[in-house]
Symmetry: C2
Subunit: 196 residues, 2 copies
Amino acid sequence: MARTAGSHAGVTGPRMRAAALKLFARHGYAAVSMRRIAAEVGVQAGALYSYTPDKQTLLFSLLENHMEELLAARMALPASGPALARLEAFTRFHIRFHLERPEAVFISYMELRNLEPENFAVIEGLRRDYETFLETILRDGDAEGVFAVPDTKIAALALIAMLNGVNTWYRADGRLSLAEVEAIHWDMVRKAVAAA
Amino acid sequence: MARTAGSHAGVTGPRMRAAALKLFARHGYAAVSMRRIAAEVGVQAGALYSYTPDKQTLLFSLLENHMEELLAARMALPASGPALARLEAFTRFHIRFHLERPEAVFISYMELRNLEPENFAVIEGLRRDYETFLETILRDGDAEGVFAVPDTKIAALALIAMLNGVNTWYRADGRLSLAEVEAIHWDMVRKAVAAA
DNA sequence: GTCTATATACTGATAGAC
DNA sequence: GTCTATCAGTATATAGAC
């Protein structure tokens, strides 16, 4: 059936979110205006307010969505079994998942300070949930005797920081394939926590 | 001798830089106005333009100054001798130096995208210089046979990313002392690159 | 060396026409 | 569902008084 002229059958909302994700990642939340996002979508600024109550909520929903996807995807990882195998699965999953969403990862770290306190607390809680997953693997491996980790909390943060580093330099058309990047990092992760 | 009323004997420049560093780190370059910096210093916005030609140059000079200090401080590290000892010296130095300047470190990573292309290229060059220093240690250790590093470039980036992670959570009044943080990370760094 | 005043432009968000 | 028009506020940067 014929639609109202100018109507876009509800695709403007997702397009707004995609444009915001891209522009926030490239220029930063504070540097991107609602007008600029609207221009990227191809509408006027006022039209965006049918899809978000305000700019802050738009940022928050992008970060929340990213964290929820991360936590959901993590569910596919083994939750029991030898810690060494679980650590390898986690390492490869983390690299792959994050390389597939460079923009969401970027703003999830860079724009935390631009979240209002309540929103910040929600995202921080989700992040801690994810970190705890890795910490549990390390603690189990320590108990098994295959890992020697003096402080599982700090070790988990250190490993995640190391793996996140990949996002700052990896290019799909670069010198190394994804498989090679995974292999190099799994080698370092494995050795870093290995028992002597 | 009596000075002009309102004059501050050249301290406004440094105070502007200190205020900008603090505010940029806390709220982001784009979110901080020259008026806000001026208010922090205790002058009117127009007065700042005696000390920087514009806001962009102010950001650039903060980042450039930080990188120059980092490269200068690195000169105190041993440039020859056993790679293992050099790696330990580098690891402890890196953690200490960066924990002493959390704000400069933060904006050096977060505000790169807000640098104009020429300014960005300068900072990137300085950063690569620093990374090469670590890469050289890893390559020397590989040649000595004490390290087993499949890709020294990637390993250097991975180790720096891991060490930088400390800045995201360390608090001087927290659970761990600086010495403990250094020890935990040196343990992981050492093992991560160790020969089997 | 810092002030006030100002130019020029942009900001987030809203109201109401179509 | 999107448009135009608009409000009230803020931005960077400059000019000239003191």
